[in-house]
């Protein structure tokens, strides 16, 4: 009895832990998906177009931010000049992107990203109403050795105060403002190290090159034709509209989802195999009892149903236990599971686990129906 209880408890625990893993994986996928959707939403209706050099070989989709793009500044300014009448010039600027610190995990944004804009076009990149924590997000001049830091970048540079100097590629720059993201998923603002474009060119030693041009269309309905015009006039550059960025995010999301789904399927298979092994052992151990039941009049169907019900019960109890386990782990790492995983996803995971538990028991249950009562009664 004790052996059976221990094994049953361990099986339930195994299922609970496996499901907890599935819930966490689903959480991560949901988190990534929402993060990307949120990022995408930032461009929605903004009428923004990014002009950059053609993609570097081996890169998937339209990489954003285009840190590997190099454009001649002269060409960038020429493009702006050509479309000047159709765009909002206040929100149109050449850009430099430079990765100061690598992403903390794959497919994430860099931890600290140098972004350079024309000295009076700060709002072109961080929006017209940024959340300011300290200081004024406005540069004093084109050559000002000044930076505006996003929260993650601030953390990377040791949380300086406004007025402090920080070293970027060996050059001292003064922090003039600290800004906050609109929310935890605001990837454009979180990691930004914003500075005037001439300052960045001086620090990076690339006086005549930029990474891209940010163009904000004056009218939302002309974004497509504007992008098309630029493509026609400058076949050597790449033009990214919101749709391109969406496609890029979708590709990344697809890869992430595939990766985590593979882990989820593996976990489900492991949980099913655990149930299968436990039920085979249970049937083998109870050969005598099953044989007795058959002898005194239990039908094959009743035996089958009993074994399947037992597995189903193990699956249900394991599933129920997995929820508090997931929440305890969630609270301990502060992941915000309750806000991210919706009830329907949770229900789907639990139903899948319970159904898999029952399916895993089909083979042992069929084996139980084939127990010969005579052999079982001889079994001592």
């Amino acid at each position: 009895m004790w052996t059976r209880k221990t094994r049953t408890v361990l099986t339930i625990l195994g299922i609970a832990v496996a499901l907890e893993l599935v819930i966490m994986m689903t959480t991560i996928v949901d988190f990534t998906e929402r993060s990307m959707q949120s990022e995408l939403a930032k461009y929605s209706g903004a009428g923004q177009i990014y002009v950059r050099s053609h993609e570097v070989a081996g890169m998937a989709g339209h990489e954003f931010p285009p840190v590997n793009s190099i454009l001649r500044e002269e060409e960038g300014r020429q493009i702006i000049g050509e479309v000047a009448e159709q765009v909002d010039m206040e929100l149109t600027t050449p850009l430099i992107f430079y990765q100061l610190a690598p992403p903390p995990y794959p497919n994430a944004a860099p931890e600290a990203l140098l972004v350079a804009v024309e000295e009076d076009k700060v709002s072109a990149y961080i929006g017209e109403e940024p959340v300011v924590k300290a200081g004024m997000p406005a540069f004093s001049g084109a050559n000002a050795r000044e930076v505006i830091l996003g929260p993650m970048a601030s953390l990377y540079f040791g949380e300086p105060d406004v007025g402090d100097e920080i070293q970027i590629i060996g050059e001292p720059l003064r922090v003039i403002s600290l800004i906050e993201g609109r929310n935890m998923e605001d990837r454009l603002t979180m990691n930004v190290v914003l500075m005037p474009i001439e300052t960045a060119q001086s620090i990076l030693g690339q006086s005549e090159s930029i990474s891209a041009v940010l163009i904000t269309s004056a009218r939302l309905d002309t974004v497509g034709s504007l992008a098309e015009n630029i493509r026609n006039n400058h076949p050597k550059v790449s033009v990214l509209t919101q749709e391109d960025i969406a496609a890029n995010l979708d590709t990344i999301l697809g890869q992430t989802r595939f990766f985590f789904n593979m882990i989820n399927y593996t976990v489900y298979i492991i949980a099913a195999v655990v149930v299968l092994i436990v039920m085979i052992m249970a049937v083998t151990e109870r050969t005598k009892e099953i044989g007795t039941l058959r002898a005194i009049g239990a039908s094959r169907w009743l035996v089958l149903r009993t074994i399947l019900l037992e597995a189903l019960l193990i699956g249900i109890i394991g599933s129920i236990f997995s929820i508090p386990v997931a929440f305890v782990i969630d609270v301990s790492i502060g992941y915000g599971l309750r806000e991210i995983v919706d009830a329907w996803s949770l229900v789907q995971i639990l139903i899948t686990a319970v159904v898999l538990s029952a399916l895993a028991a089909v083979i042992p249950a069929l084996r139980a129906t084939r127990v010969n009562p005579i052999e079982a009664l001889r079994y001592e």
Binding site: M1, T292, L293, A295, I296, G297, A298, R300, P373
Partner: protein
């Protein structure tokens, strides 16, 4: 015709790998309602095999078994299961009670398999346990009972549904002589009340409780 079991030319051969082992070499016999048959003989003489054929647990290699006039040797598994659940009570050497169920639940389980449920099942369970002297042990698990008590619980399980036939396979084999005698007397009393019993044993003292004793040797009835 008052027969419950009739065997005609029963033969049973077991196939062990390449070797054929004959267990029964042609049995003809009839058991009538109200009989108390004891089948005795040395180990391996085929008495348990014969009991399994009478109990619809196995099929003969040759010959036929009739239960209440119906040929059960050609019936399918479902039909045989139904006969076992409703008309035959089994008593085993090693009791074969469900270890996780108490005495009352063990008896009730048999009644449920026979299709008897609810208050009627509860009343029949208690009657059966009272009949074998286990009224005060109803809530006890098998491991909390002595060997004799376990076998009496197993007998209660067998008689509760009021079967037409009770088959007892070495019911005293795992008991001391005192408990064995008590079980033998209990079976005799049940027969006095009209219960048909076929008992397989190699204990002649227990067999003496039966009305008719047949001796088997090498798969055949000797007398």
């Amino acid at each position: 015709m008052n027969e419950i079991i009739r065997a005609e030319g029963l033969k049973k051969v077991y196939q062990l790998d390449e070797v054929e082992v004959p267990a029964l070499r042609g049995i003809d016999m009839t058991v009538e309602h109200g009989d108390f048959f004891a089948i005795v003989g040395p180990s391996g003489c085929g008495k348990s095999t014969l009991l399994h054929l009478f109990g619809c647990l196995d099929k003969p290699t040759e010959g036929r078994v009739f239960f209440n006039g119906k040929d059960v040797s050609t019936m399918g598994d479902s039909a045989l299961t139904r006969i076992r659940s409703r008309h035959i009570g089994f008593i085993f050497q090693t009791f074969n009670l469900m270890p996780t169920l108490n005495a009352k639940e063990n008896v009730a389980l048999q009644l449920r398999l026979a299709g008897i449920k609810g208050a009627r099942a509860s009343r029949m369970t208690e009657e059966a346990l009272e009949r074998v002297g286990l009224s005060d042990r109803m809530k006890h698990l098998p491991k909390q009972m002595s060997g004799g008590e376990r076998q009496r619980a197993a007998i209660a399980r067998a008689i509760a549904k009021k079967p037409q036939l009770i088959l007892a396979d070495e019911p005293t084999g795992n008991l001391d002589s005192h408990q064995g005698i008590h079980i033998g007397e209990l079976l005799a009393n049940l027969n006095t009340e009209g219960q048909t019993i076929i008992l397989v044993t190699h204990n002649t003292e227990i067999a003496a409780n039966a009305r008719r004793i047949i001796t088997m040797r090498d798969g055949q009835i000797m007398e």
